[in-house]
């Protein structure tokens, strides 16, 4: 049972990442691929740039893996790869691959993993539009938006 966690400027390789979690006793590898969209509220996206707080991002990814293994006991390997730097439209920004003997566990775990990732992992996306403006995006599910409903 291994966690493969990486933040990289390289183009993500789906085959390489799925092979990391491929094990003889596993009948399922569930994969999520996040790709970059070409439009946001009607504006044309020219390019995207991601940046990460690398060390903390890896720590937060590891916490998600630990939670997954608590919630689903039959998970084998987990791979979470996020690309940083410039990412072209339609390219992958994140690939998550999780293996398990039976599909239900890894399918559910992948869904949990991407939701938690968007909530806690310190990575930022800057969207450049064709009118040369840009916006730092915010995930609607991110931890920052939770404090407003919590009580102190």
């Amino acid at each position: 049972m291994t966690d493969y966690l990486e933040i990289t400027t390289r183009k993500l390789d789906l085959e390489e990442i799925t092979q990391l979690v491929n094990l003889p006793e596993c009948g399922a590898i569930s994969v999520f691929i996040g790709t970059t969209r070409n439009n946001m509220n009607g504006k044309l996206v020219k390019r995207l740039e991601y940046e990460a707080y690398n060390n903390m991002a890896i720590k937060e990814m590891k916490k998600i893996c630990d939670q997954i293994r608590l919630k689903w006991s039959d998970i084998r390997n987990i791979a979470i790869f996020h690309r940083i730097g410039e990412v072209q439209v339609q390219q992958s920004s994140i690939i998550i691959a999780i293996s398990s003997p039976h599909r239900k566990d890894s399918l559910e775990a992948v869904d949990y993993c991407i939701n938690e990732f968007k909530r806690t992992v310190p990575i930022w996306k800057k969207e450049w539009y064709d009118d040369s403006t840009y916006v730092w995006k915010e995930n609607c599910e991110c931890i920052h938006h939770e404090k407003k409903i919590s009580t102190n």
């Binding site: 991407i114 806690t120 730092w136």
Partner: protein, 87 residues
């Protein structure tokens, strides 16, 4: 009393507003709340006022609550973490 030197990191919009990704900041007291530390940072970089209500801080790569009292020592690393957008 000697001042305490904290390594402060800025990411995303915070880095845009500050103009640098990293700055050493000296503080006089080791025990202060995260939001008090943020006020000190904002006094040095007033443009951060814009994201004050939405930002979070981390201490040595762990999130802290803004009400938490931080026990700081020289060499600690605090990051200004505006809303995230990974994935």
């Amino acid at each position: 009393m000697d001042s305490i030197s904290i390594k402060v990191l800025f990411f995303g919009k915070a880095r845009d507003l500050v103009g640098v990704g990293q700055k050493d900041v000296d503080i006089l007291h080791s025990n202060l709340k995260a939001n008090e530390f943020l006020e000190i940072i904002i006094s040095k970089f007033p443009r951060l006022e814009e994201i004050k209500s939405s930002t979070k801080l981390s201490l040595n790569e762990e999130y802290v609550e803004m009400n938490d009292v931080l026990s700081l020592k020289s060499g600690d690393e605090i990051a200004v973490i505006p809303p995230i957008s990974g994935g």
